[in-house]
Symmetry: C2
Subunit: 296 residues, 2 copies
DNA sequence: TATTCCGATAGTGAC
DNA sequence: GTCACTATCGGAATGAG
């Protein structure tokens, strides 16, 4: 089991104060002002007054991903292609982008399915349009992504700690011991947040561009609204990065296997309880599990 | 086409003031005070605070049809058997019961599917448990029911007139001519409300006891909430009393025909427009048709 | 082809 | 296996001092 001994970089979610963390490689400058150009595109739509049919335009709805081309015409973007915007223009999304390197961009998932949910995006055009099964056959690329993902997971664990430690019994024990001056090597372990972070890809990603999920295991999110939201992370449809590249004959390559998993009955990630097709019951159960899990 | 030349008995809906119309054969007396015993049973449940699981009892919910037997034990009644209460104890339901004779009880449908919606219930135990197809093979019984239904339809037409005449162009024309002293035989016709009243039974009734619907054609009611609510009155599933008794080989006797009609796409009763399975669109359309129809 | 509540499912639109 | 909205479809309960 890996441990989180150090206290890694903070990735607080507060609105990006200019230069607050200084992790961006690309410059921002005046673009900071129009940072919402795409960020808001994918954000949940604010509750708007019910649109009377044929009434005027809505006031504050989210926009679908579009941009003006060189002649000023508006062009539709495929929704499944949206991630490339983060790859090509990470500076435009200071609130979403956590870290940028030559090779990767690390962002927050716009619709997080758990308490912490990040996406690691490779920037290499030679790889980022490939299906993960194919891209990860490049062992150098895979090694790079594993390193970056491991780093991202430490960030995620730190974020998780920031969000949960006030509830955590084991964190509290360690902190109290520390306050009492207990020598470092005699401190209780404290909570291993990294062990609750999972790294992997979907067997059949819905977004065109290669992305690795770095996600806490709790599935506690109001963005978990459908069967596939849950099952894509809690069945073999979720492929740990460690399993990559998949063997040629791995059943997870088969569409039938993927569909079968996505349509399975629900099983609690923590206690294994089955909920059949009763999504609402699962959701209520996840609430209670979350309350317990927080306190570990 | 039948006409409504006279102004038949009023059947106003206001809470039954004792003796206000004097149509009841059976006495009321002290029972008027406990008249809600069954009336409220079938009434829509008032909005109650969302019941938190395992929270206390709800405050004012409707009750299901039950009664105490001789030993004071509560007995569940089948929901489909509820109409017999009106037949056996019409005096208990002064608000619902419009007219009582030796042979029939005329009531308001507890969940009216149109502006006017009455039910004619035969009291004869020899008939009221039979399927309509069988009961109406007794020609004397059928003749009696037709007479009673025709009378009920005149009441319904009068009720419809009471509700609509303030909107009706043809009623207005007739009234204005009358005010001007136009001779009776030269008055414009006025609106024929009776022609908008339909009399019939369902091909397969859901309630156990024989009942004939006397219903205005508009289907304008917030109690029309489901496909079958609409289609049971607007497909051959609805059998005009004139068609009774059905021939031995009439297709409307076949369950498959009945089911096929109940699951048909929606067709506007007035303009014939089709709405497929889009119930909500049908409902919106019915609103606009009602506005037009009122003004005829 | 009782009503009602709740919830699962299905189709659509997004510039 | 985008999200969010609307609407359709499906089961279960329906009592009670």
């Amino acid at each position: 089991m890996a441990e989180v001994a150090e206290d890694p970089e903070d990735i607080s979610e507060s609105p990006a104060a200019p230069g607050s963390h200084g992790l961006h490689e690309t410059s921002s400058g005046p673009q900071s002002k129009k940072r919402n150009a795409f960020a808001e595109l994918m954000a949940p739509k604010p509750k708007a007054p019910k649109p009377d049919a044929y009434s005027g335009r809505s006031s504050a709805g989210a926009r679908s991903p579009s941009h003006k081309n060189s002649r000023g015409k508006t062009t539709k973007l495929k929704w499944s292609g949206a991630l490339v915007e983060y790859i090509d223009h990470p500076d435009r999304f200071p609130q979403q982008v956590i870290r940028v390197t030559d090779k990767t961009v690390l962002i927050r998932d716009a619709f997080p399915k758990a308490t912490v949910h990040l996406l690691l995006l490779p920037r290499s055009p030679a790889h980022h349009d490939l299906h993960p099964h194919q891209a990860f056959e490049d062992r150098d690329f895979l090694a790079m992504m594993r390193d970056e993902a491991a780093s991202a997971a430490r960030l995620a664990a730190a974020e998780l700690k920031r969000k949960l430690s006030t509830f955590s019994a084991s964190s509290k024990a360690r902190n109290e011991a520390m306050d009492k001056g207990v020598p470092f090597d005699q401190l209780p372990e404290g909570r291993d947040y990294l062990s609750d972070i999972r790294i992997g890809v979907h067997a059949h990603p819905s977004m065109d561009h290669l992305h690795v999920h770095i996600i806490s295991c709790d599935m506690h999110s109001d963005k978990v609204k459908h069967r596939k939201h849950y099952n894509s992370f809690n069945t073999p449809f979720f492929i740990p990065l460690e399993d990559c590249p998949l063997a040629e004959d791995d059943e997870r390559r088969k569409t039938s296997f993927q569909n079968a998993n996505l349509s399975k009955g629900f099983v609690c990630w923590r206690c294994g309880q089955e909920f059949g097709n009763k999504f609402a019951e699962l959701k209520r159960h996840l609430e209670t599990e979350f309350e317990q899990w927080k306190k570990e």
